[in-house]
């Protein structure tokens, strides 16, 4: 048989196995890094039609998230405000700023909505509900990051299923007093009054880890 198979072929099976492992490992590592939401989602920061700065509105003007996102406590969806909401102030403030032109156009003509680019999007088969979270002590910051410091909103957290489950398995440290929900700078560990409270017990929080919590 040695005529057919030279000596070096003896090492071949080992090399093949090694090669497969190497390639397989590389593919796995590549997929894990490049194809998970951590890579594909985090950092997404599209340019919006109006250069709206959350930072200015929250920090300089002291506005609450719910002034604009006013449906968040009642609906699964946290609405993007109607042009009318912007115009409440901007009919007087910066009334002729060219950057606000799309908003004014939308206010005048209801068939010209401002085309905001969606940043945070869950798959259609995942049913997330804003109202149950903000009503039960979960702050905006847990999922959206420090939007109050952003000039252009970017995707901060990765929104994979583990992201949701991490919190659903251990909710206590993500909970905060209900009046601090929209205070994105709030740090419970620095709040002597609340840091030792057990909200899970006080509010009887029962997070669901079941499929039915999100998939219907």
């Amino acid at each position: 048989m040695s005529d057919v198979f030279p000596r070096w072929t003896n090492r071949l099976p080992g090399q093949i196995i090694f090669g497969i492992l190497l390639i397989g490992g590389a593919v796995t590592a590549g997929l894990t890094y490049y194809f998970t939401p951590k890579y594909t989602r985090v950092g997404y920061q599209p340019t919006q039609p109006v250069p709206f700065s959350h930072s200015i509105h929250v920090n300089q003007l002291g506005m609450d998230c719910r002034y604009c996102h006013d449906g968040v406590e009642e609906s699964w969806y946290s609405n993007v405000p109607a042009a009318e909401t912007c115009m409440n102030c901007h009919s007087a403030v910066r009334a002729s700023d060219p950057r606000l032109e799309p908003v004014r156009a939308s206010y005048k003509d209801e068939n010209k909505p401002v085309e905001w680019v969606q940043i945070h999007k869950l798959p259609d088969y995942a049913f997330f509900n804003h109202s149950v979270h903000v009503n039960r002590g979960v702050s905006c910051v847990e999922c959206h990051g420090r939007v109050d410091q952003m000039d252009e909103v970017r995707h901060e957290k990765h929104f994979s299923m583990t992201f949701c489950l991490d919190c659903h398995r251990d909710p206590e440290k993500r909970l905060r007093p209900l009046d601090k929900i929209t205070d994105l700078a709030y740090d419970r560990s620095l709040d002597p009054e609340n840091k030792d409270r057990n909200f899970v017990k006080e509010w009887h929080i029962k997070t669901s880890e079941n499929c039915s919590a999100c998939h219907r």
Partner: protein, 1221 residues
């Protein structure tokens, strides 16, 4: 408890429990079919993409996928907020509006759910004074018709050319007009100057006061008005007018009637306002607490006389099978008996005449009711005993009710009302409500009064399709000057019109109506007309040149009735009805002289039909109505409640008609025998080997086609053998074969072609002749069968006392199969209290119970139930369920269940989550019928969960059996392991199936017969519906458009825009995933409604829960109150037969219902511990009747098959013998 050994097939005698004749005959083929579990076609791959092809395509797809991803193209989604926020609108939360669906003479009061401006779900208005929130199947399905892409989309005008200043209609070579799209104003100008005596308007019936007002205005200008309904219920009012004087209509209050006699009145199925009758009937039949009450004292009793097997007949305690045309003889005898027994002065002559009219019923109808063994039926005795029972109730002071159906002539109605007068029902169960007749002419008047050159305006209906065949509609159209058509579809009537005005759906525009009790209800729009359609009101107003804004028209009418002012109007719209606007109830005496005169004048002797001289009964179809729902896929695919046939109408005949009257040779062919001598089969069946066109190999039905000839008219259709039909009659459903639309255009045959003015309901002297062709019928009858098990459990009301625990004597049932999750001292059944410690442990821990072995960690089995959470469960009461299908369609609407098409249903792939099973039992000529709705049982120990390899179906802590669609890989193991066969698999991408495309060509109506375009997947190239492009390529080119097939062309034949995909998407419920190909699905207990209620409860108590000290109080505060969560099926049920709630809460309705004696689990002995349990059916037969059975036929069958003795009848008989000796 149960002395049964193993079930055996030996020694079967007596009546048995069967779902079809095949089942009854128990042929080897049927056995083989049953044992196969699924029809064999169901898992057949008929995808033309071969394996080799698949690999080729897949490699290409991977290459593409690589391209797409490495390009890192993120589909960019836009958020488009409002310019100005509508008031009280919160994005993402549904809104509810009160409205009503107008029907012929009445309306269905509704509350419609709207999501982001789209109406998506219709529910009954529970606050309406004459409603419990239940609806019928048509109201539930009506929302789909709103999004029907085949509806009339444009204003159209017959092609014309302008010569000089005159517009001249152009005709095609064969003298036809062709409709072309025209701007609205161009079409409406044809209405100018038509408000005169040369205009004839044909309309449907309507209860709208606004329409009556506009019509009155136009009548003043001389315009002539006519009404035509192919299925006309006005005989009720007509007869009441004769018997009690004009200006009234009858209103039936069934809940107070202790006994009801129906003279061919299908009040539970196809009569007007059937859903309200079901409510009343169920109310009178319900046994609220069988641990304290004796059903024999409470339940109503239903006697039914009919020629067809209707929903009412199948729910009757005693049923007489009499050809429709001969029911008048039964009515005569019944009235004579009633007069005789109650005694009315001077009625002797009348009694004699009536008896002479009735003749010898027993002789003419010798097999009219079920009997024990071979005994002959005694029809006269049946009628006499029935009337005796009614009289007995009346003398006791109880109320009864006699009803006659719309198919019966007014003489039968007069007899029924006379009996009601004698029995003292007028004013209690039969209310006479004042009503104003419309005063419009009939379609015959239209033909008479129409002069050549007059103008014709047709509002709604479709007279070209459904006018009596002898009236010659086409000729009338030829004689007309201008023909203006206003309708929902471009139908046969529209084809010959000069102008076509698309009709608005009732959810699109303003209107008003009156419900059957006369209460004024608004028809409030939830969306602007999608295609600019107009309502009847607008057209009439435009015709008269008056205010044509429908809102103003309706408001003006309302102000005329209820006075001016915003408050009242707003309350009217908010409540969905005007309080205290029901018509007045009049107290009147029965006018015996007038009635007798009318009877003598109108009643004609009838000859019973015979061999070769068949009687044909035309009936309103349960799904299609008179054809108005012809393109509604939900209704087309919902099986007929009695025949279980989908997508078609058939020629229904009885068993005897099939065997005897057609001759043995003909019957052989008809029944598709293989061994006609049947030596291998049960002799008791008269040698019928039970192979009725039934191909057990595939579980499909290939029926012989027959030509039905009535006079000089004929129709062809597949023949279908329905046990329980009257002999020598043929039942034919109307409403099919209208030829409109891509979904239902080709479904069934058009029975109107054989229906003339004189034979609106019954035609005699019909002949049947085989055509030699076969036709496939998609019937769900044999599928999902649970053979030889006590799936349905029944008891006679008079046997109940002394046998309260009868449900426990079936099968191998023991206590814990039904009484898991019970806590406290009232655990288990009352008579089992003393053995509670021996109860096996539930795999669930129980709330707040730390005693005994319950809830202890060392217990084996899954410990999933969280004692701090609510535990969901359902109870279905089989006594009140009449099998009406409302829940089936409601579920389809709520849960985005696709329609799959006739062919897919035929091979066993129907998707409906709720299957209503219909069981026949007993005499094959006069069977007893039982209905049972079966959906996922949510077993605590679910067999499906243990076999899922990917954990896609799992249990949650609240007892729901979940289905995570996104996790499902489609192994179908779960479905194989489900003992209830309630799981449904998406064999294809049914939701994205293009309509009306066959072999790549658009072919109206053929849509659902064809399978090719189901393979509309990324792997199916060259499919014209997707423009020959692979999905991935389309997606790559333009991700924002998704991968919707056919969107790119968006063109129908003739270059018109086809909004198919956009419209179908609009009808979906956004709270529920739309499932794709390869995914299993099933009932979820409407988990989306549960989650919504839980979230709303949490938001509600957000500030208060913290202050509660006791942890139990916190739990209680977070619990959703009982009655908040109403699944779609419960919501739609007009009988209130479904209850849902927390089974661990002692104050909930389900907790209490599950403690009823009659509560049982299906297949409980498997220890699956279903959360859905059933309350056994109670029948209330009268022992004096000749068709009385001591115990229900299903129980007799069970006893004999399993050597059991559920009611101890054998013992009783043995005791009797001993006593004699």
């Amino acid at each position: 408890m149960n002395d049964s050994t193993t079930p055996s097939n030996r020694n079967m005698t007596g009546p048995r429990h069967w779902r079809s004749l095949e089942h009854k005959a128990d042929s080897p083929e049927f056995r083989a079919f049953v044992e196969k579990e699924f029809p064999s076609g169901v898992d057949l791959i008929d995808d033309p993409v071969s394996r080799r092809n698949f690999m080729k395509i897949m490699s290409a797809s991977f290459a593409l996928a690589g391209l797409g991803v490495s390009g890192c193209r993120r589909p960019e989604h836009k958020i488009l907020p409002f310019s100005k926020m509508p008031e009280n609108y919160v994005h993402g939360t549904p809104q509810f509006f009160a409205t009503a669906m107008p029907t012929r003479g009445t309306a269905v009061p509704l509350v419609v759910k709207s999501y982001d401006g789209r109406p998506i779900k219709v529910e009954g208005n529970a606050e309406h004074p004459d409603s419990n929130g239940g609806t019928d199947q048509c109201a539930q399905a009506s929302v789909l018709s709103l999004y029907d892409p085949d509806r009339g989309l444009n204003f159209k005008r017959a092609e014309y050319s302008v010569r000089g200043n005159v517009e001249v209609t152009e005709f095609t070579e064969d003298g036809k007009k062709t409709l072309k799209v025209e701007p609205k104003s161009g079409v409406l100008k044809l209405l100018d100057g038509l408000a005169n005596g040369k205009t004839h308007v044909l309309m449907e019936q309507s209860s709208s006061p606004s329409r009556a007002r506009l019509v009155d205005g136009l009548k003043a200008n001389g315009v002539n008005f006519y009404e035509y309904e192919p299925v006309d219920f006005s005989v009720h009012a007509e007869a009441a007018g004769i018997a009690f004087g004009p200006g009234i209509e009858p209103y039936y209050k069934l809940d107070e009637a202790k006994a009801i006699l129906s003279l061919d009145c299908d009040f539970l199925g196809t009569e007007e306002s059937a859903f309200q009758h079901i409510r009343g009937f169920a109310e009178g039949r319900r046994v609220k607490d069988d641990t304290k009450e004796n059903p024999a004292d409470l339940m109503n009793r239903l006697y039914s006389v009919e020629g067809l097997l209707t929903l009412t007949g199948t729910n009757a305690d005693h049923r007489l099978r009499i050809p429709t045309g001969s029911v008048i003889r039964v009515a005569a005898l019944a009235l004579a008996e009633a007069l005789d027994r109650i005694g009315l002065d001077g009625a002797e002559d009348g009694i004699r005449q009536l008896k002479a009219f009735a003749g010898d019923l027993s002789k003419d109808f010798s097999n009219s009711h079920a009997t024990e063994g071979q005994a002959k039926a005694n029809t006269s005795k049946w009628v006499r005993q029935c009337v005796a029972d009614l009289v007995r109730f009346a003398k006791r002071g109880d109320k009864t009710l006699v009803m006659a159906g719309y198919r019966q002539p007014k003489e039968v109605h007069l007899a029924a009302m006379a009996m009601n007068a004698l029995l003292g029902n007028v004013g209690s169960t039969l209310l006479l409500r004042s009503a104003k007749p419309s005063g419009n002419g009939s379609i015959a008047d239209l033909i008479d009064q129409f002069k050549d050159g007059d103008n014709l305006v047709v509002l709604g209906g479709d007279p070209a399709y459904n006018a009596p065949a002898d009236l010659d509609w086409a000729k009338l159209v030829d004689r007309a000057g201008k023909v203006i058509r206003h309708g929902y579809y471009i139908d046969q009537t529209a084809q010959g019109a000069d102008a076509y005005i698309p009709a608005a759906h009732y959810l699109e525009s303003w209107g008003d109506a009156r419900t059957s009790d006369g209460t004024l209800v608004p028809v409030q729009p939830l969306i602007a007309p999608l295609f600019g359609g107009m309502t009847e009101l607008e057209v009439l107003a435009r015709l008269g040149g008056t205010e044509s804004d429908p809102y103003k028209i309706v408001r003006k009418t309302f102000e005329g009735i209820a006075g001016e002012g915003d408050t009242q109007w707003e309350k009217f719209l908010h409540d969905g009805f005007l309080a205290n606007s029901a018509s007045g109830v009049e107290s009147r005496e029965y006018d015996w002289d007038a009635a007798q005169a009318a009877w003598l004048d109108g009643a004609e002797p009838v000859k019973p039909p015979g061999k070769g001289d068949y009687e044909v009964t035309f009936y309103r179809d349960h799904s299609m109505d008179d054809g108005r729902w012809c393109n509604n896929g939900w209704l087309l695919e919902t099986p007929n409640p009695v025949t279980r046939i989908t997508w078609d109408n058939v020629l229904l005949v009885s068993l005897k008609t099939a065997i005897e009257q057609l001759g043995q040779a003909e019957a052989k062919r008809l029944l598709d025998f293989e061994k006609v001598d049947g030596s291998d089969y049960d002799k008791k069946l008269g040698g019928l080997p039970g192979r009725f066109g039934f191909h057990s190999e595939s579980g499909r039905f290939f029926q012989k086609k027959y030509k039905l000839t009535i006079g000089d008219k004929s129709v062809e259709g597949a023949i279908w053998l329905l046990p329980g039909m009257a002999d020598n009659t043929v039942g034919v459903a109307l409403g099919y074969g209208r030829g409109v639309g891509r979904v239902g255009g080709a479904a069934g045959f058009d029975a109107y072609q054989a229906r003339t003015t004189g034979t609106q309901h019954v035609a005699t002297g019909a002949k049947l002749k085989a055509t030699g062709e076969t036709y496939e019928i998609a019937c769900t009858q044999e599928q999902g069968i649970m053979d030889g098990r006590p799936v349905v459990r029944e008891c006679n009301a008079d046997d109940y006392a002394g046998h309260e625990d009868f449900v426990k004597h079936f099968d191998l049932d023991s206590v814990h199969h039904t009484t898991h999750l019970v806590k406290g001292d009232d655990r288990g059944y009352p008579w089992e209290k003393d053995i509670q410690d021996e109860m096996p442990a539930s795999p669930y821990m129980r709330k707040g119970d730390d005693k005994g072995s319950f809830g202890v960690d060392t217990m084996s089995g899954p410990k999933l139930m969280d004692v701090q959470l609510q535990q969901w469960g359902m109870v279905i009461d089989l006594t009140t369920c009449v099998g009406c299908n409302a829940c089936v369609v409601a579920c389809q609407s709520e849960n985005n269940i696709p329609i799959v098409g006739k062919h897919q249903v035929a091979i066993g792939r129907e998707m409906s989550w709720i299957n209503i099973h219909r069981y026949f039992s007993g005499d094959e000529h006069n069977p007893q019928v039982t209905y049972q709705g079966v959906a996922c049982q949510h077993c605590e120990d679910a067999p499906c969960e243990s076999v899922c390899p990917v954990n896609a179906t799992v249990h949650d802590e609240e007892g729901l059996n979940l289905m995570a669609y996104n996790r499902c890989v489609g192994t179908r193991y779960c479905s194989n392991n489900c003992p209830y066969k309630v799981r449904r698999f998406n064999y294809y991408d049914y939701n994205r199936r293009p309509m009306g495309v066959e072999d790549g060509e658009r072919a109206p109506g053929r849509f659902f017969n064809d399978d090719n375009d189901l393979n509309n997947s990324p792997l199916h190239p060259g499919n014209k519906s997707s423009n020959g492009e692979w999905e991935l390529i389309r997606w790559y080119k333009d991700p924002s458009r998704g991968s919707v097939p056919g969107l790119d062309d968006g063109k129908k034949d003739g270059g018109e825009f086809d909004p198919e995909w956009d419209l179908i998407k609009l009808s979906k419920n956004p709270d529920v995933s739309v499932r794709m190909r390869g995914v299993m699905e099933k009932c979820t207990y409407c988990v989306q409604r549960i989650q919504r209620a839980k979230i709303e409860q949490k938001a509600k108590v957000r500030d208060t829960v913290e202050a509660l000290d006791n942890p139990d109080d916190k739990i209680a505060a977070l619990d959703v109150p009982d009655g908040t969560i109403i699944p779609a099926c419960q919501q739609a049920c007009p009988a209130d037969g479904v209850s849902f709630g927390d089974v661990s809460d002692p104050n909930s309705e389900v907790y209490w219902l599950k403690r009823q004696n009659r509560n049982y689990s299906v297949l409980g002995y498997l220890d699956t511990r279903p959360r859905t349990t059933f309350l056994a059916k109670l029948r209330n037969p009268n022992a004096a009747m000749p068709d009385h059975f001591d115990i229900p036929n299903t129980v007799t069958e069970y006893n004999e098959k399993n050597h059991a003795d559920v009611f101890g009848t054998k013992e009783a008989k043995a005791d009797g013998k001993e006593a004699k000796q």
